[in-house]
Symmetry: C2
Subunit: 767 residues, 2 copies
């Protein structure tokens, strides 16, 4: 037991290491040559715009957080919320926001330096861009893991210290641990408390994704429609007033949005798995089949794996380098060594951990391998459906010859098709991860295996995020080079870096999507554990009726996951659950609709502004008049603020309302329906968008008449339709799924306590 406790320290130490190396990489990047004065000036505009946006977004987020905080505090004082939830919620959001800020600061500082680096050589550019991406990757895993470890430490060493205590422990008038608490009960309390901080990270992530997505696409669509299509000037042309906003958008959407997204996935998978581990441990002890040591192993293993993965990521980052004059292929290999190599390394590390007894059972190693294999396959499938080297995307380009309508139809169909392989893959991965962990004889252990697979997949997030995040930096560097009028060769190099990023991003996306689905499943199970805990608490003064079963405190504490499944009738023939399933499916579509419409409205405002400037500012097209970049930045900022609020609030309100009316079965249906529909729809939107984008690039490379042909015009329409799909609605869905689960977890006591009363009033309760 002491060995395990000692080994746990790997996690916090690794997180501090990650942050230290982030500082190191940041300093190295800042030391690079910033380029000419024009480049510095342009980068300054982008930085200012990005920071202005970030601060305005954070203002809105802070208001939402304050409102939620007040609600949580009131609930906590009323005894129907854990007193740690308000502060846990805050830290989750705060660290996520901090990651966004640091990532943005790094990215905006890196663009001119990368452009300058590229003018010195391809490897120079790569180093600057990759190091900046590494800052983002390390900051996300560093703060994420640190936050988790700090909470664990505080709760374990300072709050829930008194095991086997006789008087219990209370904070702010609320009893935390009941008399006679055992080690495993203590772990259950700690982990179910910790999981609620995921909601803070989720909420902030949704705002970042939705707001950032609306911002970037409003600017992009606006800039393209007037600049490229109407005025016929190239991308990133300094005469286009929306250019700066477009470049700001890349940072806002791809850097800050993606960082917050993965921060949340990373923390969510670790927290959910730890919570399941505590439940499994407690249950095994009760059955007499487990020990306290095993229970501690189950809880700490996800953190230790994450810690080791972080160290491996840092190692991998130093392996990403190439000789001067390296070819595109060398660069690709360098990056792949970093990403795929670290996945292999994590498997080896897991085998070693099993041999040293840190992980309970070989099965869990198998679960992680299943998850990793699924990630690679989904990534390859994404690559197949969206790269212009394969038939699907080329097929869209072929259809472009017949005009925009057939381009759109074929793209939609390709997107829908592309959901096939990922779903089959994730289904097999779920069954394998569940089965390897022993789920068919012990369901809770199988669900733990599913969560553990997600943790394994995300363990090396540090490096995968680095290769992912450097893409938008290279993109921005290209914009900087174009606007500063650098040599076309420089632009070619930044484009090479950018397209390289797109290739590695496919793998990263596979991991992100696959792990999100597995995490969501683990969260579903963790939700039931949370329900169990609150039933035990609410039954303290007597009994609490769940469906047709009257639980006493003791019964609830000793109940397994199946007891609640049966008591709540969480089966597929329960109409409340089926109705929840419908609502969940609908939520995915309606949420998408909202974000798409938002982009449309914000882009419309941008189009008008750009048209106005082209008309009213004299000499703008000749390059003598200076366009008003700031007003375009302001329009995107304002549009994103205004539009992100309603869909985000909906994602918070719907699970609570569903829970109050349809009860726990309705919530389970909602979450499952949202997960399934959201997963398939997100895959479709992401891949259709990617395929349209690359079909356009394929035509621009010369197919079907190349640039300026009718086919090209049709392909541009496809690309424009795909933009909000792949950069706003699709990615936001990923977070929606998890946020709805997190909200359900946090609002468990409210739903458990009040839904019976409301259902009684509505006569929709089983008698």
């Amino acid at each position: 037991m002491t060995v395990i406790t000692a080994l746990w320290w790997i996690a916090p130490v690794a997180s501090v290491f990650a942050l230290l190396f982030a500082v190191l990489f940041y300093r190295k990047m800042m030391a690079a040559n910033e380029g000419s004065e024009t480049m510095i000036e342009i980068a300054g505009h982008v930085r200012e715009g990005a920071m202005a946006y970030l601060f305005r977004q954070y203002k809105v987020v802070i208001i939402v957080f304050v409102v939620l905080l007040i609600i949580f505090q009131i609930l906590a004082l009323a005894g129907i919320q854990n007193p740690f939830v308000p502060i846990a919620f805050l830290t989750g959001g705060f660290f996520s926001g901090l990651c966004g800020y640091i990532g943005m600061k790094t990215a905006t500082a890196a663009s001119s330096r990368t452009a300058q680096g590229c003018s010195e050589g391809l490897n120079h550019g790569l180093q600057v861009a990759f190091r900046s991406g590494a800052v983002m990757g390390l900051v996300v895993v560093g703060f994420g893991l640190l936050d988790i470890c700090l909470w664990y430490l505080i709760l374990d060493k300072l709050v829930y210290t008194d095991v086997n205590m006789t008087n219990g422990l209370s904070i702010i008038g609320m009893e935390l641990v009941q008399e006679g608490c055992t080690v495993s009960e203590k772990l259950v309390h700690i982990t179910t408390t910790m999981i609620t901080f995921g909601m803070g990270a989720s909420t902030q992530a949704l705002f970042a994704r939705v707001g950032g997505g609306i911002y970037t696409k409003a600017a992009d669509v606006g800039a393209d429609l007037v600049g490229k299509v109407e005025a016929g000037i190239p991308e990133d042309d300094p005469r286009n007033p929306a250019t700066i906003a477009d470049n700001v958008g890349d940072n806002v959407g791809d850097v800050a949005g993606m960082g917050a997204d993965l921060y949340e996935s990373y923390c969510g998978s670790i927290l959910a798995t730890a919570a399941l581990g505590a439940a499994v441990g407690a249950h095994n002890i009760m059955n007499g089949s487990g020990t306290e040591t095993e229970a501690i192993k189950l809880v700490t293993a996800p953190m230790i794996v994450a810690g080791i993965g972080t160290l491996l990521s840092i190692m991998g980052m130093f392996m990403v380098k190439c000789k001067e004059g390296a070819t595109q292929k060398n660069l690709l290999n360098a990056l792949l060594t970093g990403t795929l190599g670290s996945s292999i390394a994590i498997v080896i590390a897991l085998i070693a951990m099993k041999m040293f007894g840190i992980i309970p059972g070989w099965g869990l190693v198998g679960s992680v391998i299943a998850g990793l294999a699924a990630g690679v396959i989904i990534g390859q499938a994404t690559e197949y459906y969206t790269s212009d080297e394969y038939k699907p995307t080329q097929g869209i380009a072929d259809q472009a010859v017949m005009g925009p309508a057939t381009t759109i139809i074929d793209g939609l169909a390709t997107g829908m098709y592309s959901a096939g392989i990922p779903v089959i893959t994730i289904v097999i991965a779920i069954i394998c991860a569940f089965g390897f962990a022993g789920g068919f004889s012990n369901m809770s252990m199988g669900l733990y295996g599913i969560g553990f697979a997600a943790v394994g997949m995300l363990a090396t997030l540090g490096i995968t995020l680095a290769t992912d995040a450097y893409g938008p930096i290279a993109d921005n560097a290209g914009g900087n080079a174009e606007m500063a009028g650098l040599d076309p060769e420089v632009r070619e190099r930044t484009d090479a870096l950018d397209s390289l990023g797109n290739t590695t991003a496919a793998t990263g996306k596979g991991f992100a999507i696959g792990s999100a689905a597995l995490t969501a499943m683990a969260l579903l199970a963790a939700y039931i554990e949370e329900v169990k805990l609150w039933i035990a608490k609410l039954a303290e003064d007597g009994e609490f009726m769940v469906g047709t079963v009257n639980f006493t405190k003791e019964m609830a504490e000793h109940a397994g996951i199946m007891d609640f499944v049966n008591a709540y009738e969480l089966h597929i023939m329960n109409p409340l659950l089926l109705c929840g399933l419908f609502v969940g499916g609908m939520m995915a579509f309606v949420f998408c609709a909202m974000t798409m419409k938002a982009v449309g409205r914000a882009a419309g405002a941008m189009v008008e502004e750009v048209r106005r400037q082209f008309k009213e500012i004299p000499g703008i097209m000749e390059g003598t008049g200076k366009p008003d970049y700031a007003s375009c930045v302001a329009i995107s900022t304002k549009g994103a603020q205004k539009e992100m609020l309603v869909p985000s609030l909906l994602a918070i309100i719907i699970p609570v309302v569903t829970g109050l009316i349809l009860g726990v079965p309705g919530v389970m249906g909602l979450l499952a329906g949202g997960l399934v529909c959201g997963f398939v729809l997100a895959t479709m939107l992401n891949n259709a968008g990617g395929a349209w984008d690359n079909a356009k690039k394929f035509v621009e490379k010369g197919a079907h008449g190349g640039k300026g042909s009718e086919a090209h015009k049709a392909a541009v329409v496809g690309d424009t339709v795909g933009d909000p799909c792949k950069d706003t609605s699709g990615p936001s869905l990923n977070i929606l799924i998890k946020l709805m689960t997190m909200v359900s977890v946090v609002f468990t006591p409210v739903v458990v306590k009040f839904s019976p009363i409301i259902q009684e009033l509505l006569h929709i309760t089983t008698k």
Copy 2:
């Protein structure tokens, strides 16, 4: 009991009445003036093309049916299939095909007569078109109900006659009824046998919808892209070689396809509800809370309601008339009197039936009212989202000013939004129908209530289908008038009839979608009853292991629905069920992708053929050279044949494969996932397509520059994208959902018997 038996005869008598009135309306329509020689010639071309298509389609369907028949016969001989299934499957398919044939014959004969009627006056045209629609409506309900009644009669009077028999009964070496069978057990046997005939209707419906949908859209898109966009000639211009194919397509898709679709919904709802009724009755008797009379009531009530609804429909048809010189509004009121009036009449009839003791319990009347209300609300919501009188469609037209990309984005978003109200409505309807029937104290009764609500909604299908089916006839009449060069005033009148049809069609669609969802839910429950029956049979020689429970024959026979839910772990945390949910969600999307791609390919072939003819046939544009209509008809026919096979077979194979690997939990997940995703996706596609279509018409009426403007071009792109959405993929999804359920029902014994063996091999079974 004898009263109920006597009252049951309402159903077969009503079905014969329906068929007699169909003959009457057909004769009346045929007696109408057929118009000029050119009109007769054009109608002849369309009729020939339609019949040629139908025969070729039926050839393919017959081959598929023969293959399935052989499989069923082998299974029956091996004792793992009901010996009635092969023949039941055949009759279901045969009557559905017959309805398609008659509907098509009527519609193609009616087009020139409607055009001629319109040249005499609006009411004349309406009468001819509506009577033809009435033929379709009456044939569908007539044959559907007759088929059900005949089966019930044969099984009740000739096969399962020997109640309380001592030796059981066997056919072709297979024991049908066990010794000591009671009346309620007999009813269970009869109804679970009958439900399998739904698969025949479903299979034929899917082929009709997919094949017809591909045909009509290939012709439509092909004709539009080359004719309207490239050559700039108007719709239905006789110089366009694809015009005849386009008109054939309207019949093939909207008449034959829709008829088969609703035939299947109609039969499915009655069969599923009867099967649930038998199960509820048997269970109540066992509990001591029910009588044999009540059991018979529960089984016969859906048929009696359908019979009364049919009689009310015939009555309603005679109410649809208007004075000469009636305004558009008068016409609309005439139709609404027919459709909404019959819904009110059915409620009154139900109240009377309750008072005379034919329906057990007031709650069921409430269930039907809930269903009807849902149908009206969904219809109104459809109208709101797709009519150019409201903001959503006008918003799409507004976006058209900015080009095709924004038109598409806005249309997609509108479609996604539009899923909101129908889902909320159906959720409330499900809970109400379930709750009113007493589901919260007796789950089986609640599920029966859901099925009963669907039966009530579809009871007056005769007249709703009549108002629905007359739309394409008016459309075709317009084509006939245009090609025959009739007075523009005639075209105006046919257009008026057509647009009138679109308005009433919204209500019809609401009923179709809502009842399909309710029917699918009832089928889910009926599936479990089928599983129960087969477990009892398979446990005959000892015991049969279901999950962790070892069922003896007697245990299985006396088990309630919940016993199987628990034994099979049909709960939401079962990973096999969750995986099935994923596969079901994916199926909806992949199936859509396939049908969309099929339209794209077939349309591409059509485009090339039309282009070739424009180039190679001299004088075609001047009207001196005659286009080769037949070759275009052949291309659409061939394309549809080739493309409909794979998606249709997939819908049959996937449930069986899923069942064999993931077992009964996987099947339940598949069906629930398919239902939810399919419902939402179908609503989205249907409404987006409808909104794009009407946005284009809105621009054509003069908004944003009217015909020929840039906005119009963008709106045409939207319309073309929407075509396969609303006429191929969307409607096919409705059938996919039900076909997958029907396949699961029919293949129950195969899955129940073999999946444990396969799961054992794959180690995915609970120990």
